[in-house]
């Protein structure tokens, strides 16, 4: 019990540190004291105010929300499908969102404002198709069916994306940043579009914490306790699809985060209890993405490295180190 509290406290401290750094660091360095004052409405000079309010605060909030959303989406899917490989990629959301975004970038480059909506729409469409197929015929709603339908949809949408890129190679460079995954300094615009989806996903996630703990003891025990295993899996799929599609609309394809963060917090906390794993994945995902985004845009400033690959390069050694220590 104490170990879990310690891990949660460490993650929270890491998140706070990352958030402050994210707002202090950049082309213009702002002293931490000024950042705190500006956040509480005072201090700093005009330029500092403007940088924090219009650029860094929205970007930091986006990083925290997207990181938390992807962490929770991964935790929900891994719990609901009882499969350590489950992530928003596996139920088709990330590849679907990728296809939607590339469609706009390549076919409608003049209407780039539609990108978040297209990513959201195709991400949810892919997840809907996965669940429609998984919920039909024999053995409907079983883990195997969900995973296999998801892999099929992943392949289909990835093929669609690749075909688009191959057909319009001259426009492919502008798609790279989205595919790699990364945040932009575009103010509150994206969040204003997708916040209802993030909120809905988060609310469903909260109601699923206890049912997922029941499901961890098997479908039979969950049913004995009055839950409906297939309904829990469906709910987790819907919540994860909402969270991951909204994330992709903001920050492109960062599927790795949703796969790895829940594993890291389980290993660190020494438990797979969802009352710990779900909130810890939210904090851990938020901290990781905020820290990675800060590093990605400051290490070689003014060049911004795409945060997706950067995060993978940072995250994999940590993951492997924990994996070696885990039983």
């Amino acid at each position: 019990m104490a170990r879990r509290t310690l891990v949660l406290a460490a993650l929270l401290a890491g998140l706070l540190a990352a958030a402050i750094a994210s707002m202090a660091l950049g082309a213009v360095k702002i002293p931490i004291g000024h950042v705190v004052e500006i956040l509480f409405g005072g201090g700093g000079n005009r330029t500092e105010h403007q940088i924090v309010d219009t650029l860094r605060l929205p970007r930091t909030v986006e990083a925290m929300l997207v990181g938390a959303a992807l962490g929770v989406a991964g935790a929900l899917l891994q719990g609901a499908l009882g499969n350590p490989l489950a992530s928003p990629d596996v139920i088709g959301v990330t590849p679907g969102a990728g296809f939607g975004a590339i469609l706009i970038i390549i076919l409608l480059p003049g209407s780039i404002a539609l990108l978040p909506l297209a990513a959201l729409f195709f991400g949810l469409l892919a997840a809907t198709l996965v669940f429609l197929f998984a919920w039909s015929g024999r053995n409907r709603g079983s883990t195997g069916k969900v995973v296999l339908a998801g892999i099929a949809m992943l392949s289909l949408f990835t093929a669609g994306t690749t075909s688009l890129l191959a057909a319009f190679p001259e426009r492919a460079p502008s798609a790279i940043f989205f595919i790699a995954g990364g945040l932009t300094s575009s103010g509150w615009e994206n969040l204003e579009t997708v916040w209802p989806y993030l909120l809905a996903g988060a609310l469903v996630a909260v109601t699923l914490v206890r049912p997922l703990d029941r499901l961890a003891l098997g479908d039979d025990v969950a049913a004995s306790l009055g839950s409906r295993p297939r309904l829990i899996r469906l709910g987790a799929g819907v919540a994860a699809a909402l969270l991951a599609a909204a994330s992709a609309a903001i920050a492109g394809l960062l599927g790795f985060l949703g796969l790895v963060v829940p594993h890291v917090v389980r290993m660190a906390g020494g438990t797979s209890s969802h009352t710990f794993v779900v909130p810890a994945s939210a904090l851990g995902g938020a901290a990781l993405l905020t820290a990675a985004d800060t590093l990605a845009r400051t290490l070689r400033a003014p060049i911004e490295m795409p945060v997706g690959p950067f995060m993978v390069i940072l995250g994999v050694p940590l993951f492997l180190w924990l994996l070696r220590k885990a039983v």
Binding site: T207, R210, D213, A216, D220, V221, S224, G226, S273
Partner: protein
């Protein structure tokens, strides 16, 4: 018969199932099974492989939805019961549950207790007492802080029973609780079920081993080809003629001084010979 604190009409049986039919993937598994449970009895379901024993207990527990027939829990039609209401009527203990990493025995039993909670509400003092009671009744409080992944088969089976007990339902249903256990652990589980029934619980247990069924059960129900074909006191039902007809074996159930044994002519019969015993 022990008295059980039981809500609902006093006259109604705890469970009354009639004409239960289930087809799985188009294959009929249950073709009209009946089952009654009275408060305070231990009933064993016996039958050959593939007869539909597991399907029957899963159907009357609400884990599968019957295609036809009626299942009444204390007079209430099961179809009309919501999850939490059903969880208060019966607990189902599967053969072997998956073992999630880093979950202790106490945490697992706490998850069992959550059956009594409304969504998003917290455990009360009552619930904590219920968890302690379940740990103690199942005899697992000694290793309550250990992780599930460190337990032996017999210990894990007791924990599964504890999870069911935490629901505090009047009926505990178990699907072959001893099928993967060694002799000592089997004796332990058999004794545990007898003690629980002695304390007022009602138990329905699928048992593969007929000698074990005869020793622990007040009543056995024989399932064959998707139907309940006989029910009653073990030695009266499991006659050599019944063993020959239902299991196709030349065998005799013997009880002496509280010990039961199945005497089997393992190699004794020619094929196609009528094995009906005298």
């Amino acid at each position: 018969m022990a008295a059980a604190a039981q809500p609902g009409p006093a006259a109604a049986a705890l469970l009354r199932a009639r004409g239960v039919e289930i087809a799985l993937g188009g294959t009929p598994i249950l073709r009209g099974a009946d089952l009654d449970l009275e408060a305070g009895e231990l009933v064993a379901i016996v039958g050959p492989n593939g007869a539909g024993k597991s399907t029957l207990v899963r159907a009357i527990s609400g884990l599968l939805h019957p295609d036809a027939g009626s299942v009444l829990w204390s007079g209430r039609e099961m179809r009309e019961m919501r999850g939490r209401e059903l969880a208060r009527a019966r607990a189902f203990v599967p053969q072997r549950m998956p073992v999630p990493a880093g979950i202790s025995v106490r945490e697992a039993v706490t998850i069992g207790r959550s059956a009594r909670l409304r969504p998003l509400t917290r455990l009360t003092g009552d619930d904590h007492e219920g968890i302690e009671r379940a740990l103690q009744r199942a005899g697992v409080e000694r290793f309550a802080e250990r992780a599930l992944s460190t337990l032996s088969g017999g210990e894990l089976q007791r924990v599964q029973v504890a999870i069911g007990l935490a629901q505090e339902a009047p009926v505990l249903i178990a699907d072959e609780p001893t099928s993967q256990l060694d002799l000592g652990a089997t004796v332990g589980i058999a004794t545990l079920f007898r003690e629980l029934v002695g304390d007022g619980l009602t138990a329905l247990v699928v048992v593969h081993d007929l000698a074990l069924a005869a020793a622990v059960a007040d009543r056995v129900v024989v399932v064959a080809e998707g139907r309940t074909v006989a029910a009653g006191r073990p030695l009266e039902v499991l006659t050599p003629a019944r063993l020959a007809e239902t299991w196709g074996a030349d065998a005799r159930l013997v009880e002496r001084d509280g010990r039961t044994a199945l005497h089997v002519a393992w190699l004794g019969q020619e094929p196609n010979t009528d094995v009906r015993a005298p």
